[in-house]
């Protein structure tokens, strides 16, 4: 009898290290920790493919060739392994490659591990490394950094849409509230709107609470073809029902409208279409909130809010855990911490916890459908996945 799972690609194990300043833990040890947890959930499953999501190791750790590094260190020599880099979207991009590889039928099981180690270097070196994801000839050559650009972006958003100065505060408040009960979060501390209003300015109008902290961390997910589900799974598998990736302009100034992320809109639409689902079916949205303005633009690009109205969802409780569309349910990049190229895998692993009913105090009640999106640069890359938890006795 054919398995009810036969057709799909499933996530059968997840693992995460806390995001933070892992002074005593190296890049490879971080990756190993996440991999071991993910494999343990899948009965020690040995993948044939390994995709490592990372954006900064060559610049900040002097280390490239991460596929082999990780395969070797994790005791998986012989596996086909490589790095996938798409700036902040590296995690989603790596997951997408694993999904495609399994769909091709060439392999049965794939490991996707996102890992980033940034705190060995000072902040100016980190900021320079991050800026390499911009258009070197037209953006970074002028000294533009991620944070400075996000400030320009945010100013434009507030100006064009006539939004108040603290319009985006709700994203930060929600993220911090959700992180309080997340054991792998960097900032497990709730904040009030007054904290946001009084926060130190980083680059006007972007303040400390509009920007996510970049820190160390690793997250891993194990993917298996539905017809090869291994025995000994500790949790019911979660299906990747939709997977899509798209690109826009690399430089923000080349975007037709800087306040519209076509890559985010397109990848989201395609992923949902593949899954045969509508926006209304989505029960939680792990969006990429490296900067608060990105959260608003993601909601608009996906279609959850009209253009210029994304920020309002953060004002009325809609994005809270009990709201209509919970986002950043474990704290997002803002409070869980942004682990660069690993962020996309954290998002997926957290969505899996939600769908499998393992989210503890952060649980979105009855969640069966999750949308997960990570962004590279100023929306230049977007990778979107739809995860679905099928009834166990289907």
């Amino acid at each position: 009898m054919a398995s009810p799972f036969a057709d799909g690609i499933y996530i059968v194990g997840v693992g995460m290290t806390p995001v933070g300043e892992h002074w005593e833990t190296s890049l490879r040890h971080l990756a190993l920790e996440a991999i071991q947890t993910a494999r343990a959930e899948a009965g020690g499953l040995r993948p044939q493919l390994i995709y490592v999501a990372n954006m900064l190791a060559p610049a900040l750790s002097g280390q490239s060739h991460l596929g082999t590094l990780v395969a070797d260190f994790a005791g998986l020599r012989g596996a086909e392994a490589m790095t996938v880099e798409a700036a902040g979207a590296s995690g989603g991009a790596a997951l997408r490659q694993a999904y495609l590889a399994l769909r091709s039928g060439e392999a049965e099981a794939a490991l996707v591990v996102g890992v980033e180690k940034v705190t060995d270097k000072g902040s100016s070196e980190v900021e320079s490394a991050l800026a390499t994801a911009k258009d070197a000839d037209y953006e970074s050559v002028h000294g533009l950094t991620d944070t400075a650009q996000a400030a320009l972006w945010m100013r434009r958003y507030l100006h064009e849409h006539g939004a108040p100065a603290d319009a985006l505060a709700g994203f930060s408040l929600t993220a911090h509230r959700n992180a309080v009960t997340n054991p792998h979060a960097m900032y497990r501390r709730a904040i009030e709107v007054e904290d946001y209003r009084k926060a130190a300015m980083v680059s006007e109008p972007l303040n400390l609470y509009d920007a996510a902290p970049l820190a160390d961390g690793a997250a891993a997910v194990l993917l298996v073809r539905g017809d090869r589900l291994p025995p000994g799974l500790t949790h019911p598998p979660t299906r990747i029902a939709g997977s899509a990736m798209s690109t826009g302009a690399l430089a923000l100034h080349d975007q037709i409208d800087p306040l519209w992320m076509p890559a985010a809109a397109e990848s989201c639409g395609r992923a949902l279409q593949q899954a045969g689902l509508q926006l209304e079916d989505v029960q939680l949205f792990e969006l990429h909130d490296r900067f608060s303005v990105q959260a608003a633009l993601s909601l608009e690009a996906a279609g959850f809010a009209a253009r210029g109205r994304g920020w309002e969802l953060a004002q009325n409780g809609a994005i809270a855990l009990q709201g209509r569309l919970p986002v950043t349910t474990f704290g997002g990049s803002k409070a869980r911490g942004d682990a660069g190229g690993a962020t996309g895998i954290y998002q997926v692993a957290e969505a899996v916890l939600q769908l499998q009913g393992r989210a503890g105090e952060n649980q979105v009640p009855g969640a069966r459908v999750a949308l997960v999106q990570c962004l590279g640069g100023a929306g230049g890359t977007a990778a979107t996945h739809v995860l679905v938890q099928e009834p166990e006795n289907a």
């Binding site: 300043e21 705190t119 000072g122 130190a200």
Partner: protein, 363 residues
Amino acid sequence: MAQESTPGAAGRAQGMKPLRDVGLAGYGAYIPRYRLPASEVARLWTGGTGPLPIKEKAVAGLDEDVITMSIEAARNALARAEIDPARIRAVWVGSESHPYAVKPTSTVVAEAIGATPHTQAADWEFACKAGTEALQAAIGFVGSGMAEFALSIGMDTAQGRPGDALEYTAGAGGAAFIVGPAEDSLCRIEMSYSYSTDTPDFWRRADAKYPEHGERFTGEPAYFKHIQAAGEALMQSMGTQASDYRYAVFHQPNIKFPQRAAKALGFRPEQIEAGMLVSHIGNTYAGSALVGLTAILDEAQPGDRILLVSYGSGAGSDAFSLVAGEALPLRRQRATDTQSYIQRRTEIDYATYARLRGKLQMH
């Protein structure tokens, strides 16, 4: 043989005690008179915005350096010890601002106070714990019977790159301690302990004028880890706890760090108050915890127990447990007390500071 007396118990967090009981025969502080308010640094570099880590820092005058300041502190220590300086068999100065790269600070100091020529003399270097490292050595030197008295000094005119976070706090000052037999001392040294690792949190290369630091790396894996490990190991070895101490003093790079370290080790704010000088004189680096100790000795009563834990980048901590003796109240009056040095203040602006510290360089 009791475990706590096993000499050099290898690989264990075991406190150290010399064969012969030792104590502080004398102590003395020195803090130069000039003060640069942190608001002045902020005025120049941040337009006056942002939080200030301290109120103000002490700045050495044009004709002052670690040598002259060490001599001042050593003379105060000698006055309280009431001994013939010729009996001092070691003059050791710990600093990261030795005026010469090659040529000892300590020989000049030894000569000036009359300890030459029958004496050891050497300079110590271990970032902010060079002074307490010299103190550990003096305990061993006297405790072994090789010397009757040994002088150890922690003194600095700390460097901070213009505009750097450290420029707010990099201050000047320090203290001198004459270690001698426990009997007849002002303060008995019960036990000590040292904890060191290779941790690159802060450094200055030999040819560099200003130090560099690893931002937040200087906190958790550096300062807190070492101070807490050293403090805990010492108290555990002695079977003491925070409540057994009347006073505690820690290295003070800013206000928050020692407050947090104290709390983690179980100390209440009032236990660290007397030795917390950073807000008024800045971080005096190799002198920091030691000058704090002098302020405590200026007010401690016989029987009061004191915990001192230093921290030096690179990195390590020295911890000491001391008990004030009967002779302290009378003999401490023989020299200028630390609060008097703090109150002797002439406020300067950034321009004067730049001149005094040799920061004006035209190319």
